[in-house]
Amino acid sequence: MRRYGDFDLAEDAVQEALLTAATQWPRDGMPEKPRGWLVQTASRRLIDQWRSDRSRRDREERVALQELPTQETSDQDDTLTVLLMCCHPALTPASAIALTLRAVGGLTTAEIASAFLVDEATMAQRISRAKRTIKDSDEPFRVPTDDERPARLRLVLHVLYLVFNEGYTSTAGRELHRAELSGDAIRMTRMVHRLLPDDGEVAGLLGLMLLIDARRPARTTADGDLVPLAEQDRTLWNRVQIAEGAAILAGAMGRPPLGEYRIQAAIAAVHDRAARAEDTDWTQILALYGLLEQLTDNPVVTLNRAVATGMVEGPTAGLAVLDSLDEQLAGHYRLDAVRAHLLEMAGDTEGAFEHYRMAAARTTSLPEQRYLSMKAARLRQEESEPPVSE
C-alpha cells in the first residue's frame, strides 16, 4: 500500500487485483507466488488508472448521472422503469417482492401466493396494499428522478437478491413454486444487466446468482435433504452456468461501483472452480471476506471470515475472530454453529457437541436443525466408540 502513497487509489487497485484473481485463475492456472502476483497486478492496475487519468470516483459519478433509457425505446426499457417504481422505499421488502413478481416477473397472484405458502386472497391483499402504500406516499408512482436513480437501483438489486434467496434457500420438491423464484430472479436480473451493462453491481449480482444457482443439482439428496457444500458431488454442478457467471464477473472488472454483490460473486467463483472441496483456495476467500468486511457492518461477514481464518490459519485463530462477535450475535444459532465447527476442527469434541446442540435448538429451519442435530449425534457416537480413521 505504501508504495504509491494514495491510499484510496491503492486500495481500489488491490481490490481490483483480488477480483481479477478470482476470475482469471481458473483460465490461466494458479500463479506460483499468489501474494507477489497480487501486488504486481495491483501495481499494474494502479498505473493503468493513472494513465487513463480518470479516478474511480469520476467514473462512479458518471454512471450515477447516466440518463435513464428513454421509456419509448423498447418494452424492456419500460420494464426497467416499472421495476424501479415497484421497489419503492416506502414498501417493506416483502411487499416490494410481491409487487415486483406480479408487475415485472409476470407471475399470477396465485403463483406468488403458492410460492409464499399463503392463500390467494391473502396475497391479493398484500399486493393491493403495496400499491396503496405507494399511492399514498409522498412520492407516488412516477419514474424516479436522476438523483434518486442510483439509490433506487440499489433497492431493485436488493429486492431481486431477496427473490433469488427465497427460491434458493428452499428445498426442492415440496415447494416447487418457491424454488422457481430463483429462475425468476435470474431472468429479471439478466434483463437489468442487458439494459445497464456498465453497472458493476448489476453484473456482480447476476454473476453471483448464476454461480450459486449452478450448484442446485448437487445440493439436495433424492429425499430432499440438504447436502453441505463440502460434500456435494461437484460433477453435478452446471458447468455452463458457472462459465457464464465467471465471464459476466470478468466483464465487470473495472466497472464501478464495486460492491457487496461483486465480492460475493468472486467468493462463489472461488468455491465453484475447486474441483474438490479440499482444493478450495481459502487464502483467497479470506482476502475477499476481508474486503467485504470493509463494505458492510453485517456481523455475518465477520462470521464467515472466522471460518475462512480457521481454514487458513487454523481453528484457534478462527475462534479468536469469533470472540469479537459474542456481543453482536449473542444467542444467535449461527455463532454457535460456527464455534462448534471450529471446536470440532480443534479436536474439542465436548465443546463442539455442546455448541452444535445449542445451535440446533435455536435455528428456525428444519433442514438446519436436522443437519446440526446430526452433527452433534455423530460427535457423541465418536466419543463412545474407539476412534476410526476416515
Binding site: 416483502a94 472441496a277 453485517n298 454453529a337 428456525t364 428444519l366
Partner: protein
C-alpha cells in the same frame, strides 16, 4: 418474512370471572375488539389463518405402541394450559409478532379492563434455510448445509 403462531390458552390473565358471568355488552366489546383487530391484520396481508379450538372436554389423547392405539379422554394437563385458539401471521420481524401479541393480550374484559391474557409467540419452523440473507454465505464457508 417469518411465520409465527400466536397461541392463547385458557389462562384468563388478570380476569378471574368466567365469561358466562360478564355483562352482554362486555362480551360484545371483547368480541368486537378481536374482530376489528383480525380485520385490520387481514387487510395488512399479515394474518394467514385464525382458529378457535373446542375445549378440553372434547379433547382426546392418543398413544400407540404401533399395534393397538389407546384413546383416552384426558386432559392430563392443567385445564388452563390447553390451547384455546391460535392465529398464524406472516410478519416482517419478531418485533412485529410481539407487537401483535401485545394487542391480542390487551383485549378488554369486564369493565373494559385489558385481560392481559398470556399469548404464546412461536415461530414456525420451515423447510427453508433460516434468515435467507447472509445465511447462504455462512453455510458455504462453514461447510454446513448449503
Amino acid at each position: 418474512m417469518a411465520r409465527y403462531l400466536l397461541g392463547i390458552t385458557f389462562e384468563g390473565g388478570v380476569v378471574d370471572t368466567p365469561m358466562e358471568q360478564w355483562k352482554p355488552e362486555e362480551i360484545q366489546e371483547h368480541l368486537d375488539y378481536y374482530r376489528e383487530l383480525s380485520q385490520e391484520l387481514r387487510e395488512s396481508g399479515e394474518l394467514v389463518q385464525s382458529e378457535i379450538l373446542t375445549g378440553p372436554d372434547l379433547a382426546k389423547i392418543v398413544t400407540s405402541d404401533g399395534t393397538t392405539p389407546l384413546v383416552t379422554d384426558g386432559p392430563f394437563q392443567e385445564f388452563k394450559e390447553w390451547l384455546a385458539g391460535f392465529q398464524l401471521f406472516d410478519v416482517e420481524s419478531e418485533e412485529r409478532a410481539l407487537e401483535i401479541a401485545a394487542r391480542l393480550s390487551a383485549v378488554p374484559g369486564p369493565a373494559g379492563v385489558p385481560t392481559q391474557q398470556p399469548v404464546q409467540v412461536r415461530r414456525v419452523m420451515d423447510e427453508r434455510i433460516s434468515d435467507t440473507e447472509g445465511m447462504r454465505e455462512y453455510l458455504e464457508t462453514a461447510a454446513g448445509a448449503s
